[in-house]
Amino acid sequence: MSKLDAYDNYLADNGPAALVIREPLMSVEGTDGVIFPATYAAAENSRVFAGGYNIDTFDDGSNICLIDSVGSQANRIEPIFDDRECDGRYEELVPQLRVQAGEKEVSILEAGHRAGDALVRCSELATELNAAFQAVLKGDCLPLAKSAPTSLVFGVWDSRDTQAKLPRLLTSTIRAFDVRKLTRSAQFTPATTYIDDGLLEDTKDKKLRDAYSERGFIHVPASGSHGGIIADGGVRRDATLSLSALRQTCRTTDPEERKKLQRYILGLALVAFTYPTTGYLRQGCNLVLNPDQTREFKEVHGNGERKDAQITHEQALEFAQAAAKDFGIGESKTVPFDKKLAKADLKKKEK
């Protein structure tokens, strides 16, 4: 079997519905190490959730804590295709499109709405991407795959123009189980006692005292703030790659081109899917694979059947490189942000 048709069974109509990975993780300090999950704003009804760690407790006393959400994981994975990331290991898989605005240079891989982002549409890429989205509406994803292929992997909505929408093929979430929540307290001690030493005037005015505190001139105690969690039930990354969605949405009219397109997008999706998203997620949350537990990699079929699968990240990359070469990726370019287009767009919005 040549590299190119290695995963053609995933593209066949009767192929598996999805690939699923369950990856046991742990803190770098060990399985009983303290990790810091993401914090979230309160629910609309703050009595239901007042903000902080998102921990769901079940009737049997067990609980689940969200460490990294689908959106957050996508934001960590997609930029790997940027040539400035990962030593440029994945740069040849996608065209490098950037918009230069002032001194900043933003890659389409960082833009929140990908090919549908307002920043991109206010540049000379607008015409090309508009045509690509128009083609998507007619069932042809090839032009979009040439310019912004990750939009086909992570989903896109051209919300400010054609309204074309493509679903997300990939979800990845990290959760911790049966967690114990910790709190921490701290005391900030200024370098010197500014008031006692007569360097600052003593005051009972709350506003002024708050200003002192903000600038670090007085002692500031902090108590009962978020102190991380200990995950007694372990930490796990669950990732799903929907092959059904890929087969349904990544289409073009010519059958031969369609095969090339689907192989290319599958290659990118497999690279993203198998990419190890461990490591430093945020301060206090440094996760690594748990070597004592088995990683699960399954093919899931529509009738519920589950079969073992095994694709390493290296195999995925090798396949993706071959598929990208066969498909022929679009041209890389850096274009300036067009203020006139932005102004016109704003006017449109105001109306």
Binding site: A101, A111, R160, P167, S242, K343
Partner: protein
């Protein structure tokens, strides 16, 4: 008869769909499945569905609402996260000008989005962490009389179902499958359409496919030149809202709630807890009078209102079963001496309903007829109170008929057992479970319920069972009374929320053996 089953396996074990009013939807509605199938067809054929596909959708939409087999679930805590608002053009302009204003900060242009996951717990409610896709399956079942006639439609739907990829939000990736089976699926809970209040779910109507396609087309054209044309909500012609009930959750019968007002109209009238049966008797008399005056046939008044299966001149009482009015005086639950509304106070309200359900017209009529009537003492014809209709949402009534159900209930008036227990615990338990079945609950609920009983009440303010012994009707005097606490459970021991009213035992048609919810869901 065959079962046409479309199964949807949620690959991430969570679901995020919201129903009308933005609260969590469970189970996912049949309309949501229909929309997902239309989306699959849309990805394949854009707007020009082949005729056979159109016909298949139209056939599916004409079928009656399917049964839904779904695993147990648990609602997660909602939280808000900030998402980009697609306004980076503003940021780009600011950057181009070299500005460091608020506009130049990406964070300024984010919007808050609320997310609440519904966790699918699998059939045996195993720990979510250790379950997998096989437990996260929701199946929609249509009964098909003659498969041969519709096999073309079924084949089209089968093909589309195998390509399903999302049901709910974009995070809710699924694997789909459709098949014809002789047996029903094996998931833990079966949700069936019900003619009483339940979980409201959208189901497709005959024009659903057309309406969805039209709405999609309007969505694509919502920006025309410089004008935003708002897309109206999906036409109500495309779907109907069907009430679904889980088979484990007996339906709440339609009821009428009343309060008692002093004849001066100055304040509520209250009755001693032990005079509940007299209150029920007066209420029944009032009901019978107003129904007769309204022209209800004698036989209906005799059976439905008075509970007599025998003709008026007969000597021996013939029971009529559960299809008769029950008159349940409701003691107020007060915050006296307790932190919660636990103290059983005086009777100020009453509930009138037909335990078998299904006679909504008569219950609604009775609500109208009784409201404004007088509660008259039989002996001296003294008017004790005025009867006033209450809304079903009355807070006190909610303790007896909690809108969200409750798993733990305890008596406010004791249960009269349907037999002698000879003071043997096993017999008492058996008789209590018999009471549950007699009151119309499924046998498996009776068997799974956790029971506790004693002679003194579980709530402050309740009366010792001895206080009732001289007050119950003659034919029930020989049977023991107990205060009872019930925790409703599923087969695997997990708590199960049950809707009221719950009245068990010998005096259940006049308020003896009345339970109130202990764990009211807010």
């Amino acid at each position: 008869m065959s079962n046409f089953i479309i199964s949807v396996t949620f690959l991430n074990g969570t679901f995020h769909g919201r129903c009308d009013g933005s609260s969590a939807e469970w189970p996912p509605s049949p309309m949501r499945l229909f929309q997902a199938l239309v989306a699959v067809a849309g990805a394949k054929w854009r707007t020009d569905f082949p005729e056979r596909v159109q016909a298949a959708f139209d056939w599916l939409a004409c079928q009656s609402a399917p049964d839904i087999y779904a695993p147990n679930f648990r609602l997660g805590t909602p939280y808000q996260t900030s998402v980009p608002n697609n306004a980076m053009d503003i940021v780009g302009r600011a950057w181009s000008k070299g500005s460091t204003s608020k506009d130049a900060q990406v964070a300024t242009h984010k919007a808050m989005k609320e997310i609440a996951s519904t966790y699918l717990l699998g059939d045996d409610e195993q720990h979510w962490q250790t379950s997998d896709e096989s437990s996260w399956k929701v199946s929609y079942v249509w009964k098909i009389d003659s498969v041969e006639k519709v096999k073309d439609h079924i084949n089209v739907i089968k093909e589309l179902a195998s390509s399903l990829y999302e049901v709910g939000w974009g995070l809710d990736l699924v694997a789909g499958h459709a098949s014809l089976e002789a047996d029903s699926p094996s998931q833990a809970n079966c949700w069936s359409p019900s003619n009483t209040a339940g979980t409201a779910l959208r189901t497709p109507r005959p024009h659903a496919r057309e309406a969805l396609q039209q709405r999609h087309s309007r969505f694509l054209n919502r920006i025309s030149g410089t004008t935003l044309i708002p897309v109206p909500p999906l036409s109500p012609l495309a779907y109907e809202v069907v009430q679904y009930r889980c088979t484990d959750d007996p339906a709440t019968p339609t009821f009428a709630a009343f309060s008692f007002i002093e004849t001066s109209g100055a304040k509520m009238c209250s009755f001693n807890l032990l005079s509940g049966m007299q209150v029920a008797g007066m209420l029944r008399h009032a009901a019978s009078t107003v129904a007769t005056n309204a022209g209800w046939p004698d036989e209906t008044v005799n059976r439905l209102i008075c509970g007599h299966g025998e003709p008026k001149e007969a000597d021996k009482h013939e029971p009529v079963g559960r299809e008769r009015f029950a008159y349940i005086p409701l003691p107020s639950l007060e915050r006296r001496k307790t932190p919660d509304f636990n103290y059983v106070g005086m009777i100020r309200r009453a509930l009138v309903y037909i335990p078998s359900g299904g006679r909504d017209v008569e219950v609604h009529s009775m609500r109208r007829l009784l409201s404004g009537m007088e509660l008259i003492r039989k002996q001296d014809k003294k008017v004790e109170a005025l009867i006033t209709a209450l809304p079903a949402s009355d807070r006190m009534v909610g303790h007896y008929v909690p809108p969200k159900g409750a798993s733990t209930w305890s008596t406010v008036t004791p249960v009269i057992l349907p037999g002698r227990d000879d003071r043997k615990e096993k017999k008492t338990e058996k008789l209590l479970r018999k009471c549950i079945v007699q009151a119309g609950f499924p046998e498996h609920l009776a068997n799974n319920a956790l029971l506790d009983w004693r002679r003194v009440g579980y709530r402050p303010g309740t009366e010792h069972v001895k206080s009732y012994q001289g007050k119950v009707p003659k034919h029930l005097k020989k049977f023991p009374l107990y205060h009872v606490k019930i925790t409703w459970r599923q087969a695997n021991g997990r708590p199960l929320d049950v809707h009221g009213p719950i009245v068990l035992g010998g005096g259940r048609y006049y308020g003896i053996g009345l339970f109130a919810a202990e764990d009211l869901k807010k």
